[in-house]
């Protein structure tokens, strides 16, 4: 379903609006903005067909900085607005921008339903594991025990994993990217765009003010090689500075383990090959966390399924062809009527 890249003169900067960007200096959102603008240029789309929809939070200012159509809505409800936009005009290319608080706390319900319905759009969830715009409270993705203004003695509620949430919601496309990895991210976004349905992309985002360095164990230049596993469909799961580590199924268990290539006779053939059509495998990969495992990035899961908005219009067409042209006068006169004589 890859749209052929049509020749376009548009470059990444052509997707930037004239508005001054107002994120904190050093915020991960800048990098994502750049990555998205590059992805749109690479895709070869035109700004008039693109709509960015967001909720509330730092990430949700995103639409103002794009030269496309944009709608900055209310807290948590962006998936519902985006669904409405697609119901009105399924031809539009809709990108949703949300965060861990907006998309998984106040808007968790809408996220769940947009994913299970498979509305054809890209959902980018900027996960910084903190509430930034309200000044640093813990979020639904903050680790247990997080100290924040609202949890001075440490948070007590267990966090959730955005990609496992999406898989549980029956999402048809689930991927992960990292703000700092500019070479990797636009490719993931292009895959998300090419997917026909709701594409969920968790993007790890560093909040330099309230949660700086939270992803340092895998998101930085010197930690990425050992800290993350780059997924490629059909390829063996190898990682590490020296490409000497891999992931395999633990013999006799439904579990993954990290192995050292060349040790105990382990070869590449013993490693798992990524199969992005396998939802169970995606779940196992999505659950991997530092330090015991590398963090899996790339496309975890991708499944072909009819998009909701396309199915809606199939029914509209079917109703049109079976009921004939809509005639309001005929509608008003259908069923039992009677005439009162003059």
């Amino acid at each position: 379903m890859n749209a052929p890249a049509k020749p376009t003169a548009l470059k990444a900067k052509d997707f930037a609006s004239d508005q001054e960007v107002r994120w904190c200096p050093g915020c991960g959102d800048y990098a994502i903005l750049k990555g998205v603008q590059k992805a749109l240029a690479d895709i070869g789309t035109t700004p008039e067909n693109v709509v960015f929809v967001s909720g509330i939070g730092c990430s949700s200012r995103f639409p103002y900085y794009m030269s496309t159509y944009g709608f900055h809505t209310i807290h948590g409800r962006a998936p519902a607005f985006a669904t409405g936009i697609k119901l009105a005009n399924p031809e539009l290319d809709v990108w949703l921008v949300t965060g861990d608080g907006d998309g998984l706390s106040i808007g968790g319900n809408h996220m769940l339903h947009a994913l299970r319905r498979n509305v054809n759009m890209q959902i980018m969830l900027f996960n910084n594991e903190i509430y930034g715009l309200t000044k640093g409270q813990y979020s639904p993705t903050s680790p247990l025990g997080s100290r924040s203004p609202s949890t001075p003695m440490g948070s007590l509620d267990r966090p959730l994993s955005p990609v496992l949430f999406a898989l549980g919601a029956n999402a048809t496309f689930v991927a992960r990217a990292v703000d700092t990895q500019q070479k990797h991210m636009p490719g993931v976004l292009q895959r998300a765009h090419a997917h026909n349905g709701a594409s969920f992309v968790e993007i790890y985002t560093n909040c330099i003010v309230y949660n700086d360095g939270v992803f340092a164990s895998f998101a930085e230049k010197n930690t990425a090689a050992d800290g993350e596993l780059l997924l490629e469909h059909g390829e063996p799961m190898i990682f590490g500075k020296d490409s000497d580590k891999g992931i395999r199924m633990t013999p006799g268990a439904i579990a993954l383990e990290v192995v050292q290539l060349g040790v105990d006779g382990i070869t590449e053939d013993d490693l798992l090959r990524h199969d992005e059509t396998n939802r169970v495998l995606a779940g196992l990969l999505g659950a991997m966390r530092n330090p015991d495992f590398p963090v899996a990035v790339g496309v975890l899961y991708c499944e072909d399924a009819e998009a909701y908005d396309a199915a809606v219009y199939k029914q509209v067409e079917a109703a049109r062809s079976s009921n004939g042209a809509a005639d309001m006068n005929a509608l008003l006169r259908g069923g039992a009527t009677w005439t009162v004589g003059g």
Binding site: E48, F71, A80, A88, L92, M328, W338
Partner: protein, 634 residues
Amino acid sequence: MVTSTAVQLEPTGTPREEVESVVVRFAGDSGDGMQLTGNQFTLATALAGNDLATFPDFPAEIRAPIGTTFGVSAFQINFGARKIATAGDAPDVLVAMNPAALKVNLADVKSGGTVIIDTGTFSARNLKKAGFESDPLEDDSLDGYQVLTIDISKLTMEAVKAHELSNKEALRSKNMWTLGLIYWLYDRDRETTANWLRGKFAKRPDIADANIAALNAGHIYGEAAELAGGMRGFSVRQAEITPGLYRAITGAEALAWGLAAGAKLADLRMVLASYPITPASNLLHILAAMKQFDVVTFQAEDEIAAVCAAIGSSFAGSLGVTSSSGPGIALKGEAIGLAVGVELPLIIVNSQRAGPSTGLPTKTEQSDLYQSVYGRNADAPLVVLAASSSANCFDMGIEAVRLATKYMTPVMLLSDGYMANASEPWLIPDFDSYEPFPVQFAGSDQLGEQGYMPYARDEKTLSRPWATPGTPGLEHRIGGIEREDGTGNISYEADNHQRMTDLRAAKINGIADDIPRQGVEQGEESGKLAVVGWGSTHGPISRAVGNMRDVGYDVSHIHLHHIWPLPKNLGDLLAGFDQVLVPEMNNGQLVTVLRAEYLVPAEPLNKVNGQPFKITEIENAIQRCLDGQSGDAK
């Protein structure tokens, strides 16, 4: 109001007593099919040429425990040879299909009225379930009524025996047996109901035939039996009704069609996003079956998602509509505020019910006027409209679309549980006679030197342009943060917020110039007393004012369809009356708005027991207002 005026003879020779108008209430268990029975009787009555009004009244429970008082479902119809304004104050005839139905409804029956009872259900067990200490058929409970005791259950079983149904299936035909009897009583034609049964049970012709057999058996029983007290059949002359083609229509149907008609006149696709809630769900059901009219329906995950999807649809160039009842509207509040701020068309239908909170989901009330006019954070003005009858919902649906699209604003359209479910005859309009109001979207030609200005305003309407995604050159961003006048860019500037707040208010206030002047429904344009109503109280107010005028009272009826902004001349109009009385099915909401807006000494008349006003209740209030005033003109 059964008044004998003449005697005419049926072909069989049985004399029928002519009556001017009759109120009949069918009451039974919620599984007894009383609503179907009532709807069939309504249609047969309309076909017989009477005017009519109905009141379906059913419990919130889908199937409450059989035989209990809280499981009683009722359908009341008032029909006659004259104009019928309400479903009637008190039944002339009560059909009680079980002890619980008798227990709940008997007190409402007019003294001397007729009570028809299925004795087959009057077992000791059912009497106990209904809370009777002794058998009302044996004691003096029914003194003062004309009582017909018939073992309808047994007679139905006999009537359908030939069709070899199970006992349970056979017994389910007893509503049709009863309908047959009432058809005989009021000389109605059975054929339409027989045809309807054939269609409804097309896949089970045995059940259709059994029901038709029961219908006929009930009718024959009336013809042949010596009814108690020498009761005979009645006839009701045809009413004087404007000639034309008619149908029966409920408020939910009229509203669905009116909104679809409005979207067509505006040349827009309509997207209805809704979440199931009583009594609003029917609108979703009806529109879901109208996809060929370029209507897209969306059952959202919750009320908030529904309104947000509707707003999203409007942003993308469709007419976004959401529908709910009071508690659901409360959930939509924040998003409606966004629609006010970003100035997009949006229609919010509120089929009001008794509250607060869950309240009485199937009982009617009109207590969401404050919520509609004032119920959002900050200064968030919008248009509020109120339909006054089932049929009026069609025109108000169109009016809502007209104002929402012309002024780029949310419109709250108020209906209520009574109106949504009650049906009335409707003189079917010619859709071609409605003036189209096609939306003109902003085009690339509107690109000025400074680029596209999403908050540039039309000088006259103060409305902003509507540019839809997909239009080259008009890419723009809108959102909930205050928008700079003109550009729509984020602006935290104090003066800009003042200006935008003023503009939003002025735009809505200015709509007063674009709505009809407030007229008087009945009576003079000034005088001693104005009775001011809104919504479904139209019927009882109009009849009460008419009756009181007939006996010489100086009283006028004013009925509002535009609640916000109010009609321009309303203040002057009210100032011409010595007294203003505002009957409402709430604790006094419009009355407060009128007092606040016009400093008039308006007095409330409130009723919140889940039932529509009775005519006499309003007549008595009018009398109280005007009592003590001497002279011929009271």
